[in-house]
Homo-oligomer: 477 residues x 2
Amino acid sequence: SASSIIKQTSATWLPDRLMIYLHPCAAKTQVEFEYDGPSMKTEVPGPRSKELTKQLGEIQNVGAINFFCNYEESRGNYLVDVDGNRMLDVYTQISSIPIGYPAEFPMFTSFSSQSAFVNRPALGIMPPENFPEKLAESLLSVAPSGMSRVQTMACGSCSNENAYKAMFIWYRNKERGHNNPSDEDMSSCMINQSPGCPDFSILSFMGGFHGRTMGCLATTHSKAIHKLDVPSFDWPIAPFPKLKYPLEEFTRENAQEEARCLEEVEDLIVQWRQKGRPVAGIVIEPIQAEGGDNHATPDFFKKLRNIARKHGSAFHVDEVQTGGGATGKFWAHEHWGMDDPADIVSFSKKMLTGGYYHKDELQADKAYRIFNTWMGDPENLLEEVTRSGKTLLQGLYQLQDQYPNLLSSARGQGTFCAIDIRDDATRNSILLKARDKGVLLGGCGDRSIRFRPALVFKEYHVHMFLNVFSDVLAEHN
Amino acid sequence: SASSIIKQTSATWLPDRLMIYLHPCAAKTQVEFEYDGPSMKTEVPGPRSKELTKQLGEIQNVGAINFFCNYEESRGNYLVDVDGNRMLDVYTQISSIPIGYPAEFPMFTSFSSQSAFVNRPALGIMPPENFPEKLAESLLSVAPSGMSRVQTMACGSCSNENAYKAMFIWYRNKERGHNNPSDEDMSSCMINQSPGCPDFSILSFMGGFHGRTMGCLATTHSKAIHKLDVPSFDWPIAPFPKLKYPLEEFTRENAQEEARCLEEVEDLIVQWRQKGRPVAGIVIEPIQAEGGDNHATPDFFKKLRNIARKHGSAFHVDEVQTGGGATGKFWAHEHWGMDDPADIVSFSKKMLTGGYYHKDELQADKAYRIFNTWMGDPENLLEEVTRSGKTLLQGLYQLQDQYPNLLSSARGQGTFCAIDIRDDATRNSILLKARDKGVLLGGCGDRSIRFRPALVFKEYHVHMFLNVFSDVLAEHN
């Protein structure tokens, strides 16, 4: 049950009145504390949101702000804004509110333990007494297959940056045949030169998103605005399969497309080795999220993992978006059915901290940090996610049949679903219209809508969403 | 007074029993809650620490762990370990406990608000109602001269990475003469190529430390182990002045050394422009901390700032280590006495969040985030820091006169002090012996000891420290 956080936080951190707010996190008692549907009082943004945006604009850039929220009034699947509008949230702050609102209390308290630890470097030197126990209880209890070690980090970008560094160090030691750098290694690295700073590369995929710090950014290829004007590395970029959905109906074409991409991956590895920039690691998302919810088959990932092994490159699965249950498995890569799915798996978001799991041989030489998480026994939530996800995807298929000129490529695993809209303008109009009717959705890629509800999004929430979505689509047909 | 955090946290987060622990944060009432001196029960690490290290070793690398702490029993300037040893802490978790222990409560609650915000990207899109007010109250109230805008980030590395990106974007727009990228810019950046990803550089200094993500790491040159085996950028690296201490006694030699370094900076800027990698920004610490507590004079920084202006490079002052009061001014760069000290100032650590201040023209195009801080009116604390720092430095001068073969180059601003030891082995032995006597110190550079006490480190703590230090030195003479 999700009660581990409640026990922990209530005992240590919270006065009694907050206990009421914590209950919605427990899946079983959630219903009684949730609102019974959306309720719209004003247009969005309403007058109070507009006023606050104006105030904030005097000290900060407000270009990205949609509206201001009242997090204290938000409950379960419903987000309430400062004008009193109550909206069904199918986007959850870009997939970051795992077990529903009020996010503030459980998340703040979870973050509090976690952040103080991960942000205070000396805690790898002087940890508190419960350090080993907490690690074993929390993160290690859900470690991916074949991985017994974990490194925690403050955010998704840092998780990936450090995973890349671990792969570079591992690759270089493999190349050396030992762990003892030469004097030339030590002196040249101080001035950014090889051999100390070798010309290694990470192979990534078009459409991938792995973060915004400069190492991550060199492997991010989803939107130009993320990368524009920032110096980068000459690293190879492979095509990600462009599949047709539903995958089961286009197996032969999809298999051809995946074979083409895999061939390109091998060509790039050989080319980059020849130009003296060997591929130390391959990084990929199980579902390209930011890039448009692009899926590939388990067969593709199995073959890619084998290509990495064959060429001596580390295989890094980035589960920052997909980890934590939304696909109906705790890790999206579990859908591949492999005993040895990866060398490194990075995470963030729903896990309430960042970091990466890794195999023993990728052990870095740094001290480790701790965190506390809400995780305990998430099985019930995952069953729920699988059930809601199936209902959601079936509903999307029906709407797609009903509106063939408007919708295409409904796809998903668990509640981690998406659908393509005719064009960008229509997509954006649908997002706004749905919000006016009290349903919060998010876009991804050029013309997709992504669904990222909380793990407590139940079948009746799916039906409520489908009704509103259906109305909005009728207006756009 | 430091009471703003207390008000905030107690009202919102903490049950009554924790109020007791919070009081030590208020400078005026601290004394009554603090221990009266170190108290050692076992060797360090003691049996309980050893047992926990063994347990943790089964799941993680424990190479860096010194001992395990009991943070609940730690108070004011005293850190207590799990074996009941109570130590005067002159290092404060690498300078990260601004107002003394128990760090857990004030820091956890401050971090809690902060982290939930900075780690949840959508809060730049859907902030809570108190967002503008909190920003103005906290971070903006201590903004450096000439800066009215602030971008918060989760950690020091992210702060610097994003500051670099802001400088690159600013420089490129200046080069373009407008903010509208071409189609070629947009398409080339997606595959890491110029002109979209331009070959710009950041000029940094030997001995500097700016973080461990790959952009930051290309400007970090303090220890080889940070950089080894990680690909880097071909960016210029200037010498940082190697001055003689006390600065006042060697003004002529030091001025020559600073002039030599400034000349080298200009040469490098010209060289890198000629090889097509123009210097978009210069990054420097007011005191090189990790690199060995290396100081330079206000005159050096003024001239460097002018060189940056002359060549059209942004000037980035990294106050991640020095910001927050330890130098006796809120920002170390205030000691330079300039109206326009920088274009960007990054921070972290004592500020309890990361981020950077910047001038209007370096406005990035991203959404902003919020945090709550303990800051209010820190004047009393800064007076205290100045007084304790003066006593500490005078004490170090006296010991240096007494042990000329053992000690040299005592230096400092406020309590941000350091001293060099004869050699690395002696330095490490002194650190261990001091710990056995209940005083926690930290090293930096090749053979320095750095002092990083909390802002509540008073003159009587200085005397307590000097007594123990003096005993330890006598054993090493």
